[in-house]
Symmetry: D3
Subunit: 335 residues, 6 copies
């Protein structure tokens, strides 16, 4: 029995019975021809949408219901049935055609933030408005007023795989950091709030050039060779070069915050944080990334049907440690 | 020309001219007999008060104006003159006698917090009152109501040498952490606020047994062999043992937060943080210690007469890095 | 052709021909439903007994000879045939039912020590009797007289996977250590023999709480969050709390030995060994674990049919090094 | 008995007898007031010229033959006598006055290359002329034609303390590297020679901003916060920005070579070498620095009068290892 | 359709269509019996020739066209068809027989250098002839004149898996190093050229005993327990023992160069390089191995059909970094 | 008042009053000319005997009672008085002459074992006699029968500075290890006792060449460049080369034990222990060295007058940890 188009996302499939027939639009992330043990060629696809990824198999390549001319990066409509192999979900594909232009919203096909991007962007601009340092305010307004920068800033993921790896993830991460850093700035009078928040807004701006997000998320060659730290420093240097009255000392400090925000040489920062604002930026950036990773991991654990008494799997970005969901486990104890 | 007693602290001496005569009460932190190159014995003392330490020399041991019967740990009144040797201040002592009981307030002789301890303590209790979890509230009220615990908690330094190394330093550090952690708890709904704040209040409670602060700050033998993590866990276990309805799961989590608060095995935590509250506790504890160390370093730099264009010396507790005082340096640029 | 029940252990199967039919009792360690490439559901089981583990497949779930109501942790009787897939042994299961109570001895279903547990236990008690320090003798007799402690101490494995990972493994490891440590104590008059042997007996006692061994060997949640070092310290603290005349210094030293027995911070000991007895405990514990791992590896190599001229595979617990069986290799040379 | 001015350099003093009187011009690198054990103030100076450093003591501050108004950074003429204290040479200063303008050539007062700077510079330009890649040739000619860059490039030391720590050291190091890298480029046809040599010429160009060399050699604040890698990248980016037809790919590769030339993240390169030319640049840079350090160490050993059978002291920049002078030691054996 | 014997190498097969029938001679590197999911036994082979390795499957063991009596190490002639499984090439084997003596040249069956070994060997001897140090010339002539040494030196691979892992690889690597080291010796007059080149020729001579290359490349047991450094030192010691007038100092230096050529203790050198020649040997050896690994990786990338805009995979021997082929990528930019 | 010659050892001086006059024979370990602050030359000596070292000062070089012609390595008779400077003992020397031949026993002038060397040597030979493996017995008897080896083996210290740094220290350490290793061999039937004990006897035999002990203890140049591991392997290889029937496998194992006895690559062993006997050798060697270091440290603590409640200083060879003397501290508690 069929399912109507709009309702199907990859995250829904986990609940499907073996053999359930369905159809849907997906992005082709990988396409490979392989051979069965009996020498019959078949196609192996990785399909994606904003909720996840799915392996698909086309066992009969010659079937006229299977389009010949599709490739990695295309959006396709497929029809087939669900199966499981070694605990992973697969799709046996019976029909496949390339989608028509505008038949599907591309935003549904890559994972993207669950927040309203326009609202996040307004929060960012409002934060800049609250600055008392006119030079920093001018620098940020100059950068963010550039349409190319602004569009990329709103779209970029914060990482390829680790935390906030979805469209809009960079902006979402920065907004979370701004609130957190503002609270810390209030706590330590030693800190120059505007400088700290400038660091928050600019520290990962180079990721708009380091990463590409057309077909899945990946590094550009330039990004691999130069890195987002260098790319961000260059973007900011160029903006400052257009502001003749920007003080030299302030310029050095802003660049230092971008350079040092990974906190350690072995994490790719060529300088350790040497001003208090840079130290705080490194701390809140690290904390927010880890809290987001934990939150993602807890959601996944629940989706996988694990009980409150089970720890998560080993989390790579947290030194392979396992984590326990405090609130669920404490709930157990009260029952 | 003499100086009256109450006015002299070791921090004042930096401004004294060579040879300036003065007198004052100090704590004897070390007493050693040595010999000059010409085989003459002399006494070398280390004297301390709440503002610092000072080397003193008694060149003529037999002088009747020098008491014979004093030792390490005694409070003494000395009279002598200031000198400098290899940039360090020294005192040539001409007269020395043991102080009478009550002649001087011992609180003046060890460095101590500049905050009002009673006010800090009230803040701590008020924070506990704000808890919604009755078990954690009961646990903390039980522990802090123990007069021996409460007195030690109000007096203990937070460390022997690194950050908050002064009487009341532990309490001051915890109060700073409570405010900071509360801000972070508001930021991440994932966190159990009461559990996090319980961790903040209890994480270093073992330092009340690990350290001694009668004559300078030092480790007890038990503290050296067991450590404040183990000692704190034991204090909390004993308190919980008196609370029959304390839930087992909650007990495990509170102990886990103490055990894991150093964040890494190589820093002496036998377990990595495996719940979000433990991860946050490690972050805020580390950040607050480092911010305090930076603040202390900046004050020292100003006291030493360094200009805004000079970085601090290499700071041991910050990987030997040098730091720049942002606000002073930016001030330069504006002039 | 069938094989009678009592004779079949998993270790026997290596010698079976393809397709050989047999039956036997096993513990279900894992039960998963999967799908073949043609979408047919099947069951994948991991079965265990005291000699090892075995994958089993049930291709026809609906077969009336397959019980419906069994689960992980059950003891089952199965009938089927041997096969090999990618060098691993598998069982094609044709019949399966849950075992009746008392139909099989549970001790046959988990790996367990080959020594007589009662004899090992007597050796342990005899060793305590040999102590000259009355306080340590009393402490150990108190602890080991607790029936819950004694039962768990006799049953517990020494580890989940590494050395002595079998029922009774903890006791077997401790008895080996006692003899070895006694020899070392005789060699160095500096050592306090009773304190050293107390450390041997108590160092891993927390594993009785850290590990569970009902269905395979695993960590409890409390064990994961607190660790056997902390759990052992707590058990000993509680026992000492019942002995009012136990000297404080001795208490500190016993706890220090448990805390420091892993020898390095990065191995999870919050303190380095700082007394000679703790240093020796770390050495003999480490040596005995490694010698046991080597012995296990040599046995496995022979079971796998490797010749005297072949080194073992890379041994994870020995820094991935390969080992050579000295005696077998020298035998070669003499031939 | 006096010695005439031009003939005295600090390196000559090692041969002087105790008490030998001499005079000379030196740069004041440090000036501190201290006190003797008997409370008498004196001045401690560090004097430098191009051959080394020397401690000087002025015991009678009030002596009218001692100028009052000199400071760190001044060139002074002093008269006094040689002494030794704990194996270090010292000068007891009897007379001191500030030098007149042009009375002494400043080039004699800081260590500087023993090569002819104009000749080295011609070699550099000739090398650029040999390029076949027009874009790289244009880039280098543009940069080196900038008078400020060219002057700084000819003057800068290559390091504050380690290898080539003298005026002109950067240029000398680059010329040595060019010859070496050219030989390696010939050996491996895989390599793009012009790109490799461009990397050699530009890799340390940021040191012209990172270091200051007016009074001794030191880091600028900007240099400390940003580092010569970032500063060099920025200089090159700006030059490329003026060359509209410079290819994007080539720009990325040139910047990558500067970014990665330290070879490891923990040495402050934010990127590992990922093209063969960057890998070779890191190797030859490291080798040349080490060979220069060894050569300096061997010269020092001979100056200190050590025999061919003695190893050098522990060399910090070579992992604290000691070195043996092959040729001298072999000479021994032949005798 | 069949293909004639001489033309088929494993590297040709990548271009074959599914199901293409072919025959050829290969070396059996591994032979294992396995079972299909339906319990049917089959044979899994790994076949090799000088161009690579290939998995082969024999599904019908009883087929009379399949020889019964072959084993690992045999040369066989097989006939079958090409297939692909999970992107790896496989061969379905229909016929197999053991090759007759002399039916195939063994040199075709293991990867071997593409250079003319006799010419390389002449270069080596010519280099020795160019020495001015008579003792070193005599030592090398003595060693290389030993027929067993000379044959093994010409055949040995330079490594089991990493760089130059082919017959003649050791000699090829040494010749490349000799040229490179000679250029470096010219550059630094400090260096004793003959000693450096002696180190180049002898540093890996122990690999002729550490490795075996009869059936694929592997470590001997002696090689695993002693290592090529120790084995090489022993070979050289024995040769020197036959040269009564060889100077002691020179002997120590030659042995030191072999001992220290890995450059770091953790890479298996028991001594750090402590003479300049040993330091240079470590550098050129490391550089040449890495350049060869890069070259191999670039060739592989082209063979796999990757475009100029793609980086290589992660290269294990280069810290898992990815590399970019400079010349190909720059070519892109110019188009 | 004078003290007679035989009675004075450096260790006695700690008890002397300031200014006490004495005379004695000492070995000159260092002789340097220095200058006082007032430019007067004086001599600084380091004198040694078997109980320690002592700084000596000769203030009047021209004094006719001071010999002119003595140097480092000479035995001298001095007369002078005791003084203390910065807690270190010094001697003001008034008279000095070179000792006559045979006027003093050189064994009194370097620290040496307190055991009877002849008895230790007999124990060693008796142990070899107990071997059942004829080849190992023959190898050891061959080596130890060589008079040069035997004499050096009886004299050599086990280290320059760390453990057993005294004449006869190597033999003393080996005898302790033999007993300990024999106990361990009995405990683990897996072990080949004769091979293990052979490793014990030979593991440090290269130290007889690595170290020199004529004037204090130092490394030879050959020892620095090759190391005692390589030197020991060579000695054993040469001995085996004289034993035609010595089995190859056994030879490999004996050499492997010497090569791997440091246990880790970063400690200078080019191979990890890969046979059980090598693993045990590394353990017992490490344990015995550490126990000896602890024992030395405890003795020193008592000599320095520290109480049972004080920990030792930080011990370099034990990762800078402090240690507590168990037995003394427990004694405290009982009082």
């Amino acid at each position: 029995m069929n399912v109507s188009m709009k309702d199907i996302y990859i995250s829904d499939l986990a609940a499907f019975d073996e053999g359930k027939v369905f159809n849907g639009f997906f992005l082709v992330l990988l396409k490979q021809q392989r051979t069965t043990k009996t020498n019959k060629p078949y196609l192996n696809l990785i399909l994606g949408d904003k909720t996840g990824q799915l392996e698909g198999r086309i066992w009969d390549i010659a079937d006229p219901r299977i389009a010949k001319d599709f490739d990695k990066g295309d959006i396709v409509k497929v029809r087939g049935s669900a199966s499981r192999f070694d605990e992973r979900l697969q799709m046996k594909i019976d029909q496949l055609r390339v989608a028509l232009p505008d038949e599907v919203d591309k935003a549904d096909l890559l994972p993207s933030t669950t927040y309203d991007v326009a609202a996040l962007w307004s929060q960012l601009l409002a934060c800049v408005e609250s600055f008392t340092n006119p030079n920093l305010k001018l620098l940020l307004n100059t950068l963010l007023a550039d349409p190319a920068v602004a569009e990329a800033y709103r779209e970029a993921p914060a990482a390829r795989q680790l935390h906030h790896a979805w469209l809009g993830g960079l902006l979402e991460h920065v907004i979370s950091l701004l609130t957190l850093a503002d609270r810390v700035a209030t706590h330590y009078p030693l800190l120059d709030r505007d400088l700290l928040l400038t660091g928050v807004i600019l520290h990962d701006i180079g990721k708009t050039h380091e990463l590409s997000w057309d077909i899945g998320f990946d590094y550009t060659i330039e990004g691999t060779l130069l890195g987002h730290i260098q790319m961000g420093v260059e973007m900011v240097e160029r903006a400052i070069a257009t502001l003749p009255s920007f003080p030299d000392h302030l310029r050095t400090l802003v660049l230092h915050m971008i350079l040092s925000h990974h906190g350690k040489l072995e994490f790719g920062s060529p300088k350790l944080p040497m001003i208090p604002e840079a130290l705080v930026l490194n701390f809140v950036d690290d904390l927010d990334a880890k809290m987001q990773a934990i939150s993602t991991e807890f959601d996944k654990t629940i989706r996988e049907g694990k009980g409150p008494n089970e720890m998560t799997g080993k989390v790579w970005s947290l030194d392979n440690r396992q984590l326990l969901n405090t609130k669920r486990w404490l709930g157990e104890d009260k029952g």
